[in-house]
Structure formats: C-alpha cells, structure tokens
C-alpha cells in the first residue's frame, strides 16, 4: 500500500555523504570502552606527547660518568683531609668530635654499578629527566660492624666524596653538586655537563649518583625496625643526651636508611619486570607523576617520590588490580581509587610474597609499631614509606579523592585541572602558619622524643620534630580541622662540592584544611570531671582547663575559648589560631606565625562589632519586619505577592553594610507631607553616606496593566502614594517618589520599587506597519529584566544556594560561614584598585567569588575568607578567559548535560560572547552580567594586579601590614584629580595609614527637623564622576575607589589626541585645526 509512494533506493553512495573509515570506527568504539570519552583520550595523548622524553642524552652522559668512575684512581687512600685539599668537602659532617679526621678507606673503584629509576623504566617526565646510577662500594672499604652507630653512613659519604674527586679529576669536565632528599645524612652526587649548573640547581637533566653497600654484605635482618643499631651509650657520650642504657630502643629510621640500600636491587628487578613492555602502565605512571608534581607532592617525605609511585603501580599489577588490556586512564583511575580506599596507616600493604617468609621476617604489625605509614617492598625488610608522616599521607589520599571526584563530575576540564594547572600548597589549604624551631634537639627532648633523636641522628631532626608538632596539633584541634599538610623548606637542596654541607634551619609551614562549622566552636568539652581521663585532659590544656556545668546537667572538664555567648564571627574565627598559638607556646615554646589572619581587619570599620556580618544580618532582619508590615496591609488595589531584597547587603556581600540606628526618628512622625530632609545650597561637608536598602515588591498577576510604558510609570507612582498613605496610618515614616518609595523602619531606610510579572515584555513589544506584533529585546527591556528578575534572583541565589524557595532562605552564608567576609574582601580589593563599577560590575566580582567557593574543582571548598580571597586572586591571575567559561552552579541546578551544552555553546559562539563568560542556572548562554564590561584591557590589569598580590601573599616574607595590598597604584594614570576630603561622604570607609585619626561617626546632620527621612544616597563624588564620564567618556577612562577614595585617576584613550574629521554626530570636545576638509 505504501510501496507506491516509496522513494527509489539509491544504489550507490551519494558524493559528499559523511563516511567513516573502519579504522576510525574501531578506534571510536575502543575509546568508549577504555576511556571516559574520546575527549579525554585525545587530551591524554597530547599531554603524554608533551611530557614524555626518551632520555637518550642523559643516558649518554651516564655512560660517560660510569666510564670515568671505573677508571683507576691516582690516590691510594681516601681521607677527609686529602679530599679537602683537592677541593671536595665530604657531604656529611663528622658526627663525633673525638673521631679522627684522618679516618680513611682504600681508594678502590666500585665493583659494579646499576642504573635504576625512571630512565630504565621509561617513565621519566620532562621536568625530572634524571638518570639514577648506583655504585657498589668495594667490600674492602667497609667493615662488618659498620652498620652500627652511623659508621656506614660516614663511609658512604666519604666514598661519595671519592667519586666526586674522580669526576673532578677526569679528562671530561663535569659540573658537580651534592644534594639530599628525605634525609640529610644520606647525600647524593649530581653530575651534569660542564656549564649546565642550572640543571643541577633544579635537580633536572643530570645523573644522580648513589652509593650502595656490596650485595649480601650486611644481613637484611639486621635492619628490621625493632632492632637497635645506634647504641644509646655511644649517642649519650657524644651529644650530652641522657638516655636509658637499654638495648631495646629500636632505630627504625636509621635502619630504613640502610635497608633501602640493601633492597634496592630487589625493587629494581620487580619494577623492570613489571614495567618493561607495558606501555599503558608506563603512561599511567607518567601521568601520576605529573599530577604529583603539579601539587608539589613528588617527594618521599611528604607525598610520594617517583620510586614509591612506581612501586605502587607495580603493586597494582602484581595484585592483578590492573590488567594488560587496560588503558593508562583506567590504570590511573584505579591507582587513585586504591589510594583513597585503603588506609596504609592502619593496614599497610606489602609487595613481599608471604609464602616466602622465613623466621626472621618482620610482620606488618612490626612495621606499624614503628612507622606512620606502611608499604613493604619486595624483600619484605624495608618500608618504602618510612619517611612519610601520617598527616601528609592523608593529604595525599585526600588529593586522590579530589582527583576522582573531578574526573567523575567535570570531565571536560578534568585533564586541565589535574595535570596542566598548578595547585600550590598554600592555595590548597584554608589557613597556614609558619613554625620556626631554633633548638630542635631540645624541643624533641622536651616533647619526650629522646628515642627519635637517637634514631634520626643529631643533625637530622626535621622529620621527628615535624612529626611531634603535627601530632600535638592533631590532638589539640580534633575535629576542628579536616586535614593538615606540612611544607618543609628544605625539600631538595643542593650545594656545591667544595662547600660544607649546609646547616638547615628547622622551619616549616603547616597548612590546615578547616571544618567550616566546627572551627568556630567556642567550647572544647572534655571528659566528666570525676573520670580518670580528666587528669590527662587537665594536664594537656594546663591552666585553660576548667570545670563547667553543661545544660544536660553534667559537669565536665572544658576549655572555653571565648567568654561571651554572642561572640561575633570574626572573634570566633580567631579561636583556632589562638588554640594553635597557645598549645605550641605552652608545650614547645614555639611561636607560630599566621600569615593571612590580619587580612580581615581591612573590613573592620570602627562602629562595627566585628567584620560586618552581624550588621548584614540586622539588615536582613529589618527586611523581614518590613515584609510582615507590608503583608498586613489589606485591600490594596493589587495584592503584594512577595518582597525581595535587591541590595547586596541581603546577600551578605555589601562591603560596608549600613549601620542601623543612624536614621531613627526621635520624635513621633507628623503627618506633614514633605517628610524628607533637603540639602542646603552651600554644602560645606557632604552628609554621611547612607545607602537605602533596596527591595522589590512583586504584585499579584493582573491582566489590567496597560501596554503603555508611560502609563505604567504613572500607575506605579499611584501605587507608591497609596502605600505611603496606608503605612503612614500605622505610624511609619515614609515618602513616595515618582519611581520609588522610601520607608524608615527598624532603624533602616528602605527603598521599595514595584514590579509585576511580564513587565519586561511591555518593553519588548513592537508592531510593524501592518500591526503584526513581535517581541524584540531592547535595551530598556534588558534593563528591566536585569533589575526585576536577574538581580533579585542573584541576591537570593547568593543568599540561598540549596533551595530556590523565596520564603525559606538557607543562605550561602549559612552553608559557608566564610562567604560574606570572603566576597567582601574580594570586592574591597577590586574597589581599592579603582576598578569597581563601571569597569567591573559588582555582580561579576560576586559571581567569580561564588565560583571560587562552590564551583571550582581545582581546589577543595574553602572554609576561610582568606582562602576565598586567595583563590579569587588565583582565578584572576591564571584563568584563561578565552578558552574556558566560568560556571556558577547554584543549588547544583545545572546537570552534567546542561554543563556540556553550555560548553558546546561557548566553544561554538566564542567570538560573539563577552571576554568574561559566566554561566549561572538562570543565565546559561548570554552572560548577562558581563556583557559589556570588563573589557580585555581591564582584565589584563586585574590579572597583573592579582599576580603581584598573590606573589606577595604566598612569598615566604609576608608583609606585616596587609594594607599595602589595598593601596592603588597611581603611576598608571595620565591625570590625577584630587578630591576635597570634606566632600567625601564615604570617608569613613577609606583605608587610613597608621597614625591618622579616624573621624568618629556622627549622628546624621539634617538641615531640618530630625524626624524626617535623612539624606539618602547622596554622593557628590559619584555625581561628579557621572558628569565626567558623560562629557569626556569618549576621550578618557575615569577610575575611582568608591570606598572613600580621594583621587580620581584619568587615563587617555589611545586615539584621544589624534586629529579626526569633523562630524556632526560625534561629540566634538576638540578645537578646529583647519577649515579644509581632510583628505
């Protein structure tokens, strides 16, 4: 029946039809199975191309070095003195003063060598393309009892010095340096071609020479963690330390140093076996190392070294958690997953096959007793993670978890976030402080770590002290923190061979990830007063501990950090720093230095109780009161359906929220019609700035609104008059104006406007000549939409991120208590550099800060205002606006599909979209708030300012006074207009230098009776700027800091001074040069 209508089937394929080759199809199908998506596959391939190296040059260099070292030496015996004469200092100072400087070893060549590390596994990355060569010390240099009392380490250093001597004397000149990682008593020798010193400095593109004891020379079982290899008697006599003479003190750290050397060959065998011919495994390891490096974690003592990482991947392979069919992406995912799901600090993992265990073999539990983290190597005698402390290990796990989340949720940016953008330590944490330990040995003894001192040697106490301090802090802070990381200042230091090994100051930076609510807890409740734990608690907290009766009737030991019940937020934010300072001071005599804490002082304005959150809250409560009052009014012409706050103060984001009380009427309201204060003609001093709290009244839907814009204006005015009459009856001070209504309530001045559904469409309607109706967006309609839909939505979205319900606000501020201060810091910073509106709209700053808070996947969610500010600066400094959009996913409204669609739209339409593209759930494709501004020029300026601010904040010498960050740089402007201070209504908000007196806030001066509405929103500076921009906007840009800035910066536009043709339509402002028409 249908057949008769069927089109003839084309026999041959039509030209131009999309065709796909079998190969491509195959690849696409494979991709679906092995990678998350084709997009990720392509990116990974590109990335690998960029970071992989073949390392041929380095291997050649290594061959040369080996040849030189194997050549016979000209000297017979190696002693410190002789090497010193030849210009080589042994990289390890003599431990005992009693020992002879002339202790020597025979100068015989190494018996064998071994190339280890990433070069042999083909997993080197560009940044770390070193070749590790290990030489075996000939047995005649050692003694069988050398494992005792650092003897072996001394001889090892001496032999390393001898190798350096050989290379120095070699025909081919080399650049030489000593270095260490993990442990100071365990130096390496770095060799590069002559003149390539920078390579040595960066520990990159060089040959790393290690020295190993001859195979089977020492027994493995000598170095199990519980054995003692440094005798307390030897240690006590040398260093004046009181130690028990018991033999039982284990020296796990010392043992691990030597057992690493012993088991190196086993590990190498295993690794070579697993990695050769398994390119997916190699690629995965390379990616993993890049990921670590971007996070500053590619280091054995506070992250994972390349060696440890390769053993981890070998472990996954051995245990069949990955298989040869897997792609590098899948292996990497499994590795992260494995890191996150297992906890090696509780149940360690082991590469040692248990079937081969013999009686001397230590068990995993033995290792757990002595080490924080346990990962046993193939020989079963060495803990690969011996030098990793618990905190750092958990930070590493947390990062792995973050990486997994990032892959799952944001796959389009995942590769960029994980591998190609840096994530520095200081930005990953909410707050951080520096600790400087002058007497590490004394401190260690004070904290009861004498055994550790013995274990780690007298000069290498960083590790132990750091561990003790973090343990102390973990105990003191409890659940106030979610994680703690330590950044040590001595990661991998290098020094030249003719210098003495440097003494390291024991300094480290502790970064804390805070719990958003627990960090603000006022009281630390301890055990019941009569329990036996109470004594311990009291001992720990000292005089701060006291008895407290709690509401549930119990009497407990407790520490109270702030006495007042209604402590303001900024007081509560300093509780945690106070605890840290108190505990470190009391227990260890240390003074931690919190860098960024003084930052919030910028927002402390004298009349505020804290940093202004409480004042914002007061305004919001005022709005609630007003809402109640308005909804009480009956039989209005149209019902009020809701009242929405529009001012930023309702989103907690007004930099200086208005103070209540300045506008309180002292005498009952009269029924006078003119109830507003007016200004006198000769204004000697501008009245104090009083912004009204803006709110929007939504009326119920009605079809009776006219289609005429002017008529709507009149009707609205009539509504204001009507409302004003009603409100005055209930003794409210108010005044109706043609386009707004002022009300004084709850000691605030409110400014109300009215809107109704579909107001914007009235402006959009347009009829053509035949009367056909079209809707076209016009500038007016856009403005109305912005004011009546977008703005209230934004302030309620910034306000309530979980629910869009209008009456149940669960604000960003409630969820993230740091939001308010954070966003206000950002706004204050932008304003102080005179880049506020119209150059950068406040909404854009707010959205960018909200992005840093809730939608950034590069860093974990910040929990302190400083962290928001730092990440905002980071975003401004390094974000690539051209290729990636900013998504602010309020309430997680945007699904993955939505996000993908927005990205596609962005990629396709990039050329037509504004420089800064911000997508929110309500405004997905247009980026309404950044449509015209900021311009690329302003963006560049912001970026360079942010970069220098960030550099200042994250440098090691942080300035004591943060105000320098907020001083505008005036050199950039062509003309400066200085303003009279008396005419600045917002002078109180200005940053003052130390010593300048702050003018106290005065009750408002009104020229007439005091019971009228005060002068509202009158700023002569803004009037002046508006006029300047209106008149000369074509020629110049005007910059001003609205928070009491006393200068206007003027910047000429590039073609302001070029002659142009006379045109009627262009503003003239110029003088006529000649009357001849220009050619």
């Amino acid at each position: 029946m249908h057949l008769s209508f069927q089109k003839p089937i084309p026999r041959c394929r039509v030209e131009g039809e999309p065709s796909i080759s079998v190969e491509d199809l195959h690849q696409l199908h494979e991709t679906e199975a092995l990678f998350h998506s084709n997009w990720i596959r392509l990116q990974i391939e590109e990335l690998l191309k960029e970071v992989k190296v073949n390392g041929k040059k380095e291997l050649e260099l290594a061959e040369e070095v080996i040849a030189c070292i194997k050549a016979p030496a000209s000297i017979k015996e190696v002693t410190r003195r002789r090497l010193k004469k030849a210009g080589i200092q042994i990289p390890l100072p003599i431990l005992m003063t009693t020992e002879d400087e002339d202790m020597g070893i025979p100068a015989s060549s190494p018996i064998d060598h071994l190339i280890t590390g990433s070069a042999i596994l083909q997993t080197a990355i560009k940044q770390h393309r070193n070749v590790d060569v290990a030489f075996f010390v000939p047995p005649e240099c050692l003694h069988h009892r050398d494992f005792l009392n650092h003897e072996y380490l001394q001889k090892r250093a001496l032999y390393l010095g001898f190798l350096a001597y050989k290379l120095k004397k070699a025909a081919l000149p080399f650049a030489l340096k000593f270095a260490f990682c993990d442990d100071i008593s365990y130096p390496f020798l770095l060799v590069a071609r002559e003149g390539n010193d920078s390579a040595l400095e960066k520990h990159h593109r060089c040959v790393v020479i290690d020295v190993l004891p001859p195979p089977e020379y020492f027994k493995d079982s000598r170095f199990i963690p519980s054995r003692n290899n440094v005798r307390p008697s030897w240690y006590s006599t040398g260093f004046d330390v009181d130690l028990d003479e018991a033999e039982e003190i284990g020296t796990p750290h010392y043992n691990a140093l030597i057992s690493r050397d012993l088991t190196m060959r086993h590990c190498r065998e295993l690794l070579v076996d697993r990695f050769s011919n398994n390119s997916a495994l190699q690629d995965a390891l390379i990616l993993f190392k890049v990921w670590l490096l971007q996070r500053d974690l590619l280091h054995g003592s506070y992250g994972m070294s390349g060696f440890q990482a390769s053993l981890l991947f070998a472990y996954l392979d051995v245990k069949r958690m990955v298989n040869p069919q897997m792609s590098s992406y899948q292996i990497l995912r499994n590795a992260w997953n494995f890191l996150w799901e297992t906890d090696w600090s509780k149940t360690g993992i082991s590469l040692f096959p248990e079937t081969q265990a013999h009686e001397m073999q230590p068990t995993i539990d033995d290792f757990h007793k002595h080490f924080d983290v346990v990962f046993i190597d193939p020989s079963g005698f060495h803990n690969v993670c011996a030098f990793l402390d618990r905190c750092s290990y958990h930070e590493l796990r947390f990062e792995a978890h973050q990486a997994l989340l990032c892959l799952d949720n944001h796959h389009s940016e995942a590769i960029e976030v994980l591998f190609t953008s840096q994530s520095p330590f200081l930005l990953r944490h909410d707050t951080y402080f520096k600790v400087n330990i002058e007497e590490p040995l004394q401190l260690l003894l004070q904290l009861g770590g004498a055994e550790k001192a013995l274990d780690q040697g007298p000069r290498n106490l960083h590790h132990a002290t750091c561990q003790m301090v973090t343990q102390l802090l973990t105990k003191a802070l409890g659940n106030r923190i979610r994680g703690m990381g330590v950044l040590r200042g001595m990661n991998s230091l290098t020094w030249s061979v003719d210098e003495k090994a440097p003494e390291f100051s024991c300094t480290f930076i502790v970064g804390l990830r805070l719990d958003p609510t627990e960090q603000l807890r006022i009281i630390d409740k301890g055990p019941a007063a009569d329990s036996h734990q109470a004594l311990e608690f009291r001992e720990f907290w000292g005089e701060r501990s006291e008895w407290r009766r709690f509401p549930d009737g119990s009497t407990c030991e407790a520490v109270v950090w702030v006495e007042e019940r209604d402590a303001v937020l900024c007081q509560r934010r300093v509780i945690l720093p106070n605890i840290v300072t108190y505990i470190l001071e009391k227990k260890a005599g240390l003074q931690p230095c919190f860098f960024l804490l003084p930052l919030q002082d910028i927002l402390k304005n004298p009349p505020y109780r804290g940093t202004g959150e409480e004042e914002s809250l007061a305004a919001i409560q005022g709005l609630g009161e007003l809402r109640k009052k308005l909804l009480e009014l009956s039989d209005l012409p149209l019902k009020i359906s809701s009242l929405q706050g529009v001012s930023p103060v309702f989103a907690y984001s007004e930099v200086f929220p208005p103070l209540p009380g300045l506008a309180e009427p002292s005498i009952p309201v009269s029924m006078k019609s003119s109830s507003c204060a007016t200004l006198t003609g000769n204004l000697l001093q501008a009245p104090d700035w009083l912004p009204p709290l803006k709110a929007l009244i939504r009326l119920e839907t009605s079809g009776k609104w006219p289609d005429d814009v002017e008529a709507i204006r009149r009707l609205k005015a009539a509504f204001y008059v009507e409302l004003s009459k009603r409100l005055r009856k209930s003794r409210c001070l108010c005044h109706a104006l043609p386009d707004r209504l002022w009300i004084v309530l709850a000691r605030f001045v409110f400014e109300l406007r009215v809107t109704f559904a579909g107001e914007a469409t009235v402006h959009q309607k347009e009829r053509d000549s035949t009367g056909f109706l079209r809707l076209r967006e016009t500038p007016e309609s856009r403005a109305v939409t912005k004011d009546t839909v977008a703005k209230p939505y934004l302030s309620s979205a910034l306000h309530s991120s979980r629910t869009r319900s209008r009456f149940f606000f669960l604000s960003l501020q409630v969820e993230h208590l740091c939001w308010s201060t954070g966003v206000r810091l950002c706004k204050r910073w932008v304003a102080s550099h005179m880049l506020g509106p119209p150059h950068v709209p406040w909404e854009v700053v707010e959205l960018l800060s909200a992005h840093c808070l809730i939608s950034s996947h590069q860093f974990p969610t910040p929990a302190s205002p400083e962290a928001i500010f730092l990440r905002f600066l980071q975003l401004l400094s390094y974000h690539d606006w051209e290729t990636s959009p900013i998504l602010v996913n309020f309430n997680s409204t945007l699904s993955k599909e939505d996000v993908r669609e927005i990205r596609n739209h962005f990629d396709k339409q990039r050329a037509t979209l504004p420089p800064v593209f911000i997508a929110t759930p309500l405004d997905r494709y247009a980026s309404e708030w950044s449509r015209e501004v900021p311009t690329p020029m302003i963006l560049r300026r912001l970026a360079s300012l942010a970069q220098s601010a960030l550099a200042l904040l994250t440098s090691s010498s942080v300035p004591s006074d943060f105000k320098v960050l907020f001083y505008p740089i005036l050199d950039a402007f062509d003309v400066l207009i200085w303003l009279r201070h008396s005419q600045l209504p917002r002078r109180r908000e200005a940053l003052l230098d130390e010593g300048t007196s702050i003018c106290t806030p005065q009750p408002l001066q009104s020229s007439q009776d005091s019971y009228c509405i005060p002068i509202v929103e009158f700023d002569p500076v803004q009037c002046y700027l508006e006029e300047l921009r209106g008149l000369y906007g074509e020629l110049a840009l005007f910059f001003h800091d609205e928070h009491g800035g006393d200068v206007i910066g003027v910047l000429w536009k590039p073609d302001a001074w070029k002659p142009t043709e006379f045109k009627v339509l262009c503003p003239l402002l110029r003088s006529v040069k000649s009357m001849e028409p220009m050619q």
Partner: protein, 263 residues
C-alpha cells in the same frame, strides 16, 4: 556647508573659551517646529547652558533678532523635538554635550546671527545671576527630586484620566471598524467584539507552526523501511564522526594555546 564658529566663555574670569558650531538648519522633510529658513542649528552645547528655560542660549542670540523657540536635543534630528516631561516625572538631564535648535521669528535674525563676526568670546553667565554648578547643582537636583506626594498624586490622576480617555477612544474606533466594511468592502478583523480574530503576533504564529509539526510527525513512520534504518545508522556514525572531528579541532586550539605544557 561650513559651520560658523562662536567662541563663548563661562564668565569674565575664565581663561579658556568654549566653541559653538552653528549653521543654518536645512533638511528635506521640514517640520513645523523647526521651520527651514528660520532655524539655527547649534552644536556642542555644554552642561551649564542646558537649562530648562534656555535663558542663556536665548541671551546669546537675542541681539540678532527675536527668538520664538529653543529646543535642546541629545542628537540632531529633522523631526519634532521629543517633548520634555514636566513636573514630578521629569527625568534629570543626561550629562554630555548636546545640540540645540534656535528658531527665530524672521529669517533676518538667523542671517544676522550667522554672519556676525565674534571677535571676543562672549560670556554666558550674566553678572547678577549665579549658575549653580558642581556640588550646588547636585544639591539642587537632589532637592528637586523630592516632590510632594500630593502634587505627585494630582499629576498621576490628570495623566491617567487623559490616558483612559485615549484608550476608550481607540477601542471604540476598533469596534466600529470591525462592524463597518470600508470602501472596497473589506472588514477589519480585530481581537475584540463578539467574533474575535486570531492575535496577530509572532508568538501565536510560532505556536501554530509547532502544532502543525507535531501533527505531521505523528503521521510519519520512522525506522520502518530498510532505507530508513540504514539512514539512521549512517546518521549515528556521522554524528560520532562529527563529534570526533570537533574534539580534534578543540585539541588543536588548545595545543596552540600551549595548554598541554604542564610546566
């Protein structure tokens, strides 16, 4: 057509002068308000001359001849000047230089004004009057904005009365047009009356088109014939391919932006 130049000064103490460019107002479609031949076109009017009563502009040209009207505009136009709101609903003037049309009573006045030689800059501010500037002006603007409520109410009422009258008139006309055929016998259909016509708007047309589309798809058979199945498979492959190419392109741009250089 050249412009004549008139230098002016704010007051005698000013060191610099401002320049007006003037010429005769000459356009094809003339307007009653700005009659051709009697109107002077003035460019570059500064802020301090933009007063509602135009008294400073009048004072400047009064000695050339009697002036009937002055219009201030944002931009030059040939049509009537946009009428200014009065009373409470008056919008504050936008800052910027404006254009003005000065209409003389007779053409002689215009010619005189154009041919006059201005040797010395003329002062705008009269001796016995103060033009409010700067803070004073802004104070004045602030005070003016605060009009009384009663005044406001009165103004709204008069406007709305006039508006409602206009609307009623319009509706009446539409009704009448709907019931009466014009000379050729056509009846204008409006959306009023007993038998209203369809709304003539874009949204309505779109709705109809969409309905049609739904109807059509309901009738069609998809994936029924072999060729359809084959085609849909082909399309799927093409889509895959297209996405692949897109990704490749994106990678290329990212490579150019050195996105893959991690260090």
């Amino acid at each position: 057509m050249l412009h004549a130049v008139i230098p002016v000064k704010f007051d005698p103490s000013s060191e610099h002068h401002h320049i007006f460019y003037v010429k005769e107002h000459r356009v094809r479609d003339s307007n009653e308000e700005k009659p051709v031949g009697r109107t002077l076109f003035l460019l570059n009017v500064p802020m301090f001359c933009q007063e509602v009563s135009h008294k400073y502009l009048r004072a400047l040209f009064e000695d050339s001849g009697e002036i009937s009207n002055v219009y201030l505009q944002e931009k030059p136009s040939s049509g009537p000047a946009p009428n200014q709101e009065s009373g409470c609903f008056q919008q504050p003037p936008l800052p910027g230089f404006k254009v003005a049309y000065v209409v003389f009573k007779v053409r002689k006045g215009l010619l005189k004004a154009l041919n006059k030689k201005y040797k010395k800059p003329k002062c705008i501010a009269p001796k016995n009057d103060i033009i409010p500037l700067g803070v004073q002006k802004w104070c004045k603007q602030y005070n003016e904005r605060l009009c009384g409520e009663e005044e406001l109410e009165k103004e709204v009422n008069t406007f709305m009365e006039a508006f409602e009258k206009r609307e009623a008139e319009r509706i009446k006309q539409e009704r009448e047009a709907a019931s009466k055929p014009d000379e050729e016998g056509w009846i204008t259909v409006s959306h009023r009356g007993r038998k209203p016509g369809a709304v003539r708007s874009e949204a309505f047309v779109k709705k109809i088109h969409e309905k049609e589309k739904v109807k059509r798809t309901r009738k069609e058979l998809l994936n029924f014939y072999t060729f359809q199945i084959r085609e849909s498979k082909m399309n799927e492959v093409a889509r895959l391919k297209e996405k692949f190419e897109e990704d490749k392109k994106r990678i290329e741009t990212m490579r150019k932006a050195r996105k893959f250089k991690p260090f």
